[in-house]
Protein backbone atom coordinates (compact mmCIF):
# COMPACT_ATOMS: atom_id res chain seq x y z
CA UNK A 1 0.00 0.00 0.00
CA UNK A 2 1.51 3.34 -0.95
CA UNK A 3 2.19 5.92 1.70
CA UNK A 4 1.58 9.55 0.78
CA UNK A 5 4.02 11.84 2.57
CA UNK A 6 2.89 15.42 3.01
CA UNK A 7 4.98 18.51 3.56
CA UNK A 8 5.51 19.39 7.22
CA UNK A 9 5.97 23.08 6.40
CA UNK A 10 5.03 25.57 3.71
CA UNK A 11 7.78 26.52 1.31
CA UNK A 12 9.63 25.57 -1.83
CA UNK A 13 10.10 21.82 -2.33
CA UNK A 14 13.70 21.21 -3.43
CA UNK A 15 15.70 18.06 -4.22
CA UNK A 16 17.61 16.44 -1.36
CA UNK A 17 20.74 17.04 -3.41
CA UNK A 18 20.29 20.77 -2.79
CA UNK A 19 20.41 20.42 1.01
CA UNK A 20 23.54 22.13 2.39
CA UNK A 21 24.71 19.06 4.31
CA UNK A 22 26.76 16.33 2.61
CA UNK A 23 25.12 13.46 4.49
CA UNK A 24 21.54 14.51 3.78
CA UNK A 25 22.30 15.60 0.22
CA UNK A 26 23.91 12.27 -0.66
CA UNK A 27 20.74 10.57 0.62
CA UNK A 28 22.81 8.77 3.26
CA UNK A 29 20.09 9.33 5.85
CA UNK A 30 17.70 8.02 3.21
CA UNK A 31 15.79 9.12 0.11
CA UNK A 32 13.17 11.83 0.14
CA UNK A 33 13.08 15.51 -0.56
CA UNK A 34 13.44 18.81 1.27
CA UNK A 35 11.53 22.02 1.83
CA UNK A 36 13.03 25.49 1.93
CA UNK A 37 10.52 26.93 4.37
CA UNK A 38 8.62 30.19 4.17
CA UNK A 39 10.37 32.58 6.55
CA UNK A 40 7.63 32.91 9.12
CA UNK A 41 6.95 31.36 12.49
CA UNK A 42 4.47 28.56 12.51
CA UNK A 43 3.66 24.95 13.17
CA UNK A 44 5.34 21.95 11.64
CA UNK A 45 2.91 19.13 10.91
CA UNK A 46 3.30 15.38 10.78
CA UNK A 47 4.08 14.11 7.26
CA UNK A 48 2.18 10.84 7.73
CA UNK A 49 -0.28 9.18 10.08
CA UNK A 50 1.39 7.06 12.73
CA UNK A 51 3.09 7.17 16.08
CA UNK A 52 5.67 9.70 17.22
CA UNK A 53 8.62 7.32 17.49
CA UNK A 54 11.24 9.90 18.35
CA UNK A 55 10.76 13.55 19.18
CA UNK A 56 13.49 16.12 19.55
CA UNK A 57 12.74 19.84 19.33
CA UNK A 58 14.60 20.12 16.01
CA UNK A 59 13.70 16.75 14.43
CA UNK A 60 11.16 13.97 14.75
CA UNK A 61 10.36 10.54 13.35
CA UNK A 62 6.82 9.32 12.73
CA UNK A 63 6.37 5.60 12.16
CA UNK A 64 3.34 4.64 10.12
CA UNK A 65 1.90 1.50 8.66
CA UNK A 66 4.21 -1.41 7.93
CA UNK A 67 6.74 0.18 10.28
CA UNK A 68 7.78 2.81 7.75
CA UNK A 69 9.42 5.80 9.41
CA UNK A 70 9.66 9.34 8.08
CA UNK A 71 12.19 11.78 9.54
CA UNK A 72 11.53 15.53 9.50
CA UNK A 73 14.64 17.55 10.31
CA UNK A 74 14.06 21.24 10.92
CA UNK A 75 17.07 23.05 9.56
CA UNK A 76 20.67 21.88 9.34
CA UNK A 77 22.89 21.51 12.44
CA UNK A 78 19.95 22.65 14.55
CA UNK A 79 20.72 19.89 17.07
CA UNK A 80 23.29 22.41 18.32
CA UNK A 81 20.49 24.75 19.45
CA UNK A 82 19.57 22.39 22.28
CA UNK A 83 15.88 22.98 21.67
CA UNK A 84 15.98 26.76 21.90
CA UNK A 85 13.35 28.35 19.69
CA UNK A 86 11.30 25.16 19.26
CA UNK A 87 8.10 24.33 21.13
CA UNK A 88 6.86 20.75 21.22
CA UNK A 89 3.15 20.23 20.68
CA UNK A 90 2.97 16.43 21.08
CA UNK A 91 4.76 13.75 23.10
CA UNK A 92 6.77 10.74 22.07
CA UNK A 93 4.39 7.81 21.75
CA UNK A 94 1.42 9.93 20.67
CA UNK A 95 -0.64 8.86 17.67
CA UNK A 96 -0.90 11.53 15.00
CA UNK A 97 -2.50 12.02 11.60
CA UNK A 98 -0.86 13.50 8.55
CA UNK A 99 -1.25 17.22 9.19
CA UNK A 100 -1.28 17.07 13.01
CA UNK A 101 0.85 19.92 14.48
CA UNK A 102 4.02 18.54 16.08
CA UNK A 103 6.39 21.46 16.73
CA UNK A 104 6.23 25.25 16.59
CA UNK A 105 9.32 27.11 15.35
CA UNK A 106 10.57 30.17 13.53
CA UNK A 107 12.88 29.47 10.57
CA UNK A 108 14.05 33.11 10.69
CA UNK A 109 15.47 32.47 14.15
CA UNK A 110 17.39 29.44 12.86
CA UNK A 111 18.70 31.48 9.96
CA UNK A 112 19.75 34.47 12.07
CA UNK A 113 21.79 32.01 14.17
CA UNK A 114 23.81 31.25 11.05
CA UNK A 115 22.16 27.91 10.19
CA UNK A 116 20.16 26.85 7.17
CA UNK A 117 16.42 26.44 7.90
CA UNK A 118 16.03 23.94 5.02
CA UNK A 119 14.06 20.88 6.18
CA UNK A 120 14.96 17.44 4.81
CA UNK A 121 12.04 14.99 4.86
CA UNK A 122 13.42 11.46 4.63
CA UNK A 123 11.93 8.00 4.15
CA UNK A 124 14.11 6.00 6.55
CA UNK A 125 15.54 2.71 5.29
CA UNK A 126 13.62 3.04 2.03
CA UNK A 127 15.21 1.75 -1.17
CA UNK A 128 15.64 4.81 -3.40
CA UNK A 129 13.37 3.40 -6.07
CA UNK A 130 10.39 3.32 -3.70
CA UNK A 131 10.20 7.12 -3.51
CA UNK A 132 8.31 8.78 -6.36
CA UNK A 133 6.15 11.74 -7.20
CA UNK A 134 8.37 14.33 -5.58
CA UNK A 135 7.00 17.89 -5.48
CA UNK A 136 10.50 19.30 -6.19
CA UNK A 137 10.37 22.62 -7.95
CA UNK A 138 6.94 23.50 -6.62
CA UNK A 139 5.72 25.60 -3.76
CA UNK A 140 3.90 23.50 -1.19
CA UNK A 141 1.63 24.35 1.70
CA UNK A 142 1.96 22.35 4.90
CA UNK A 143 -0.11 19.24 4.27
CA UNK A 144 0.36 19.20 0.47
CA UNK A 145 1.76 16.00 -1.04
CA UNK A 146 5.57 16.05 -0.93
CA UNK A 147 6.34 12.56 -2.23
CA UNK A 148 4.95 9.03 -2.39
CA UNK A 149 6.48 5.96 -0.76
CA UNK A 150 5.53 2.92 -2.82
Amino acid sequence: MTLTVVSPVAGAAIPLGAVPDPVFSAALVGPGTAVDPVRAEGTVVSPIAGQVAKLHPHAFVIVGDRGRGVLVHLGIDTVQLGGEGFTLMVDEGDDVDAGTPVVWWDPRQVESGGRSPICPVVALDAPAGEITGRADGHHVAAGDVLFVWE
Binding site: D21, P22, V23, F24, L28, V29, G30, A53, K54, H56, A59, V61, V63, G67, G69, L71, H73, V79, Q80, L124, D125
Partner: protein, 91 residues
Protein backbone atom coordinates in the same frame (compact mmCIF):
# COMPACT_ATOMS: atom_id res chain seq x y z
CA UNK B 1 29.12 -13.78 19.32
CA UNK B 2 31.69 -10.98 19.29
CA UNK B 3 31.02 -7.91 21.40
CA UNK B 4 32.50 -4.45 21.75
CA UNK B 5 31.62 -1.67 24.16
CA UNK B 6 32.27 1.90 23.14
CA UNK B 7 31.54 5.32 24.57
CA UNK B 8 30.03 7.51 21.87
CA UNK B 9 32.32 10.41 21.01
CA UNK B 10 30.12 12.50 18.71
CA UNK B 11 29.61 15.86 20.39
CA UNK B 12 25.80 15.73 20.26
CA UNK B 13 25.41 11.96 20.11
CA UNK B 14 24.10 9.87 17.21
CA UNK B 15 21.89 12.45 15.59
CA UNK B 16 21.06 12.27 11.88
CA UNK B 17 24.51 12.87 10.41
CA UNK B 18 26.66 10.58 12.60
CA UNK B 19 23.89 7.96 12.73
CA UNK B 20 23.81 7.87 8.91
CA UNK B 21 27.60 7.50 8.73
CA UNK B 22 27.49 4.66 11.26
CA UNK B 23 24.64 2.88 9.44
CA UNK B 24 26.48 3.26 6.13
CA UNK B 25 29.63 1.69 7.63
CA UNK B 26 27.64 -1.12 9.25
CA UNK B 27 25.87 -1.85 5.97
CA UNK B 28 29.13 -1.82 3.99
CA UNK B 29 30.67 -4.33 6.41
CA UNK B 30 28.29 -6.96 5.08
CA UNK B 31 27.94 -8.31 8.61
CA UNK B 32 24.71 -8.37 10.65
CA UNK B 33 25.81 -5.98 13.39
CA UNK B 34 23.52 -5.08 16.26
CA UNK B 35 23.77 -2.10 18.56
CA UNK B 36 22.34 -1.69 22.04
CA UNK B 37 22.35 1.12 24.55
CA UNK B 38 23.51 -0.12 27.94
CA UNK B 39 20.61 -2.08 29.43
CA UNK B 40 18.41 -2.04 26.32
CA UNK B 41 17.52 -4.52 23.58
CA UNK B 42 19.90 -4.71 20.63
CA UNK B 43 18.66 -3.25 17.36
CA UNK B 44 19.73 -3.61 13.74
CA UNK B 45 22.75 -1.36 13.07
CA UNK B 46 21.91 -1.27 9.36
CA UNK B 47 18.58 0.47 9.99
CA UNK B 48 18.74 4.24 10.31
CA UNK B 49 15.26 4.18 11.85
CA UNK B 50 16.42 1.72 14.54
CA UNK B 51 19.61 3.65 15.28
CA UNK B 52 17.85 7.05 15.45
CA UNK B 53 15.17 5.56 17.72
CA UNK B 54 17.87 4.41 20.16
CA UNK B 55 18.55 8.07 20.84
CA UNK B 56 22.23 7.66 21.70
CA UNK B 57 23.67 10.73 23.43
CA UNK B 58 27.24 11.90 23.73
CA UNK B 59 28.96 9.86 26.42
CA UNK B 60 26.47 6.97 26.26
CA UNK B 61 28.06 3.54 26.19
CA UNK B 62 26.77 1.28 23.43
CA UNK B 63 27.35 -2.42 22.84
CA UNK B 64 28.02 -3.69 19.32
CA UNK B 65 27.55 -7.39 18.62
CA UNK B 66 28.10 -9.52 15.54
CA UNK B 67 28.70 -13.14 14.56
CA UNK B 68 30.77 -15.10 12.12
CA UNK B 69 33.67 -14.47 9.79
CA UNK B 70 34.81 -10.89 9.67
CA UNK B 71 32.91 -9.90 12.82
CA UNK B 72 36.07 -8.88 14.71
CA UNK B 73 37.37 -6.61 11.97
CA UNK B 74 33.95 -5.10 11.32
CA UNK B 75 33.36 -4.37 15.01
CA UNK B 76 36.86 -2.92 15.39
CA UNK B 77 36.29 -0.38 12.66
CA UNK B 78 32.76 0.46 13.80
CA UNK B 79 34.01 0.96 17.34
CA UNK B 80 36.65 3.38 16.10
CA UNK B 81 33.98 5.26 14.14
CA UNK B 82 31.67 5.62 17.14
CA UNK B 83 34.43 6.69 19.51
CA UNK B 84 35.39 9.55 17.20
CA UNK B 85 33.57 12.85 16.98
CA UNK B 86 31.87 12.29 13.63
CA UNK B 87 30.72 15.89 13.59
CA UNK B 88 34.30 17.13 13.87
CA UNK B 89 35.15 15.19 10.72
CA UNK B 90 32.46 17.09 8.82
CA UNK B 91 33.83 20.05 6.93
Amino acid sequence: MTERRVVVGSAVGLHARPAALFVQAATKSGIAVKIAKDGGDPVEARSILAVLSLDVRHGDEVILTADGAGADAALDSLTELLAADLDAAHG
